[in-house]
């Protein structure tokens, strides 16, 4: 065991340590409330990683991710309740649907300039939410209820603890895949596009192809998270896939650091915890006050402060701190 550990690189050690924390978490904390919050952190985390990959790494304002999250959730909901398909098959169909939608929509979108792309993808989000709330197949405003849980060979993920493990297993898989993408040729191409498109295209990088790839990856991740969400909560309606959700995820990505995969996950963790704390503290301090207004003020101020004073997010700040520390240690060693 020790020998295996010694052969791992730092990145792999971090990943293994993090996985261990996740595995041990329900052993020490059995409260269903905390486990539910932790499961939601995983779902938000997948979305935040997807958003970070497109907006931070690739530098493209692709805001339609709640729409793909909704496609995943509604595919699972409709196919399992109306057509009684296996939930896993429904998840896969949702991923294929979201991916191909993203590819087709991406073909014209990737040609647009920065803010035009933002406006068009935001429009897709708005139109998508309206459609989800109006069509009969999606259950209209009522939504879809009694979605069955996922199960493997008769083992159903029907309790909070089981769902916690399921959600985090998939989040860790997504994380591993993303870390590999980021450190591959594709990842370097995406980073080159973010820093200078003209230079990247001169280097022989097919800008439109890579941008569309990022768009499809975003859609696939969000669709997986959406299916998990639908099977976990057992209920979907269109209000979960709109503006509020996108603001929430953007906040996470900015706070954690949009240029880092781990940062997006850290942001999901911090923002979710903070909001839960806020939701419990404010009714105690100010009885009768609505929490949403304080949530919004805090969101706004937090976003502004982070963007102005911490442009690379908490993760960027931490890694700079770590680098300075390593440099100092190196200098001391040289003496």
């Amino acid at each position: 065991m020790k020998r295996v550990w010694a052969t791992l690189r730092l990145k792999q050690k971090v990943f293994a340590g993090f996985s261990l924390v996740i595995i041990l978490f329900p052993v020490f904390i059995e409260s269903p409330f905390f486990l539910t919050v932790a499961t939601f952190i995983a779902l938000y985390g997948i979305n935040a990683v997807a958003a970070g990959l497109t907006m931070g790494y690739t530098g493209q304002l692709m805001l339609a991710f709640p729409f793909f999250y909704g496609i995943g959730a509604y595919s699972s909901a409709i196919l399992t309740t109306t057509y009684h398909l296996d939930p896993w098959l429904a998840l896969v169909i949702g991923v294929v649907l979201a991916g191909s939608t993203a590819y087709i929509l991406g073909l014209p979108i990737v040609k647009l300039g920065f803010l035009y792309m933002g406006m068009v993808t935001f429009g897709i989000l708005v139109i998508g939410q309206i459609l989800m709330g109006e069509l009969t197949i999606t259950g209209g405003r009522v939504g879809i209820w009694e979605i069955p849980p996922l199960c493997i060979a008769g083992f159903a993920f029907d309790t909070v603890t089981k769902n916690f493990y399921l959600a985090w297993a998939i989040t860790l898989a997504v994380l591993a895949v993303t870390l590999n993408i980021v450190n591959s040729r594709t990842g370097r191409a995406l980073k080159a596009i973010a820093s200078n498109e003209l230079a990247a295209s001169v280097m022989g990088i097919n800008i439109e192809k890579y941008k569309n790839q990022a768009h499809v990856i975003q859609a696939v991740y969000c669709s997986i998270a959406g299916s998990l969400y639908a099977n976990f909560v057992a209920f979907v309606d269109s209000t979960s896939f709109g503006l509020h959700f996108s603001l929430h995820v953007l906040m996470m990505v900015c706070v954690g650091g949009m240029f880092s995969v781990w940062g997006a996950l850290l942001g999901a963790f911090l923002v979710t915890i903070l909001m839960e704390i806020l939701r419990t503290i404010i009714p105690l301090l100010l009885p009768g006050a609505a929490t949403s207004q304080f949530e919004m003020i805090l969101y706004g101020i937090g976003l502004i402060v982070v963007i102005i004073y911490m442009p690379t997010g908490l993760m960027g700040w931490l890694s700079r701190l770590f680098q300075q520390f390593a440099l100092r240690r190196h200098e001391n060693g040289a003496k």
Binding site: L115, Y116, M119, F122, G123, I297, G300, I304, P311
Partner: protein, 295 residues
């Protein structure tokens, strides 16, 4: 005749909504001229204008002082956004600028909800409720106020930016900040001025529209996006384009909402934008990703 007057009715409603989009689009163009920013808090200035007018009228104030005070409130909020958000951030582009302005908007909305509550409200129109009947369609008298003041604002801004030295200085400071500073233009003052003008006109739009539609704290975001779409369709730099774009968008939206269903109303503006960009890319005018003047 019945169908005709029905259509005319939609157009009348569209004109009043379109005038508001036009004023918001003017605000986008002003701030774009002054700072090269795209100010997504613009719609929230509209909300602040409308909500503070409701508050002042509710306190029993006569219309004119209430009007002045709400415009002043809007201007104060606008200068606060510049001083506390835009100025400390310095020169930021792209994603950071977008998130910054979204953050400013969210913040204003939060304070508005804390101060004014979450319910939809309105106040009595300036000159009565008695509609004017034209060819069987009802024209709310408030619409005349809206149209008149929109035109006044348009003419005032047009003259300010094209004919006065301050207006030219403001435009110069966005083109090249260093060069403008070397010529003796106070660049930060000019940027602040553009925010004051945009916020003031936004507040005017808000207090004009509130008597005929209702207003609440969350109305700002959609106003921002639709006004921005009107400004894009109008060319982003041209005052005339912004006004034309605003009216066109408002009329199209109301026609579509009336003839199809009102549930899809918010989708219309974005569909218009997508069609517009598709048309522009067919004619080869749309910017390829590499160089965008908006970054």
């Amino acid at each position: 005749m019945q169908v005709g007057s029905q259509l005319l009715q939609y157009v009348f409603t569209g004109i009043s909504v379109g005038a508001i989009y036009a004023i918001i689009a003017l605000g986008f163009v002003i701030i774009f001229h002054g700072t090269r920013l795209v100010n997504f808090a613009q719609g929230d200035f509209v909300m602040v204008g409308g909500m503070s007018m409701i508050m002042f009228v509710g306190m029993g104030m006569p219309v004119l002082p209430a009007l002045l005070l709400s415009v002043i409130t809007g201007v104060v909020v606008g200068s606060l956004v510049y001083r506390l958000v835009v100025q400390p951030a310095g020169e930021v582009g792209g994603l950071r600028m977008f998130m910054l302005m979204i953050g400013a908007g969210v913040c204003i909305r939060g304070f508005a909800q804390a101060g004014w509550g979450a319910e939809f409200r309105l106040f009595p129109p300036f000159s009565g409720e008695k509609p004017i009947v034209i060819f069987g369609a009802m024209l709310h008298p408030q619409v005349l106020w809206i149209l008149g003041i929109t035109m006044l604002l348009f003419i005032a801004f047009y003259f300010f930016f094209e004919r006065t030295i301050q207006g030219k200085a403001l435009r110069a400071s966005s083109m090249n900040r260093l060069a403008a500073r070397l010529l003796g233009i106070r660049v930060t003052t000019m940027s602040l001025l553009s925010f004051v003008l945009a916020a003031g006109s936004g507040a005017v739009a808000g207090l004009l529209i509130t008597p005929i539609t209702t207003m609440n704290y969350s109305a700002g975001m959609m106003f921002s996006f639709k006004g921005y779409i009107a400004a894009i369709v109008g060319g982003m730099r041209s005052f005339r384009g912004a006004v034309v774009g605003g009216f066109a968008l408002g009329i199209l939206e109301c026609l579509a909402a009336g003839l199809l269903t009102s549930a899809y109303k918010d989708a219309i503006a974005f569909l218009v934008l997508m069609l517009f960009l598709a048309y522009k890319s067919v004619t080869g005018e749309v910017v390829y990703g590499v160089t965008t003047e908006q970054e």
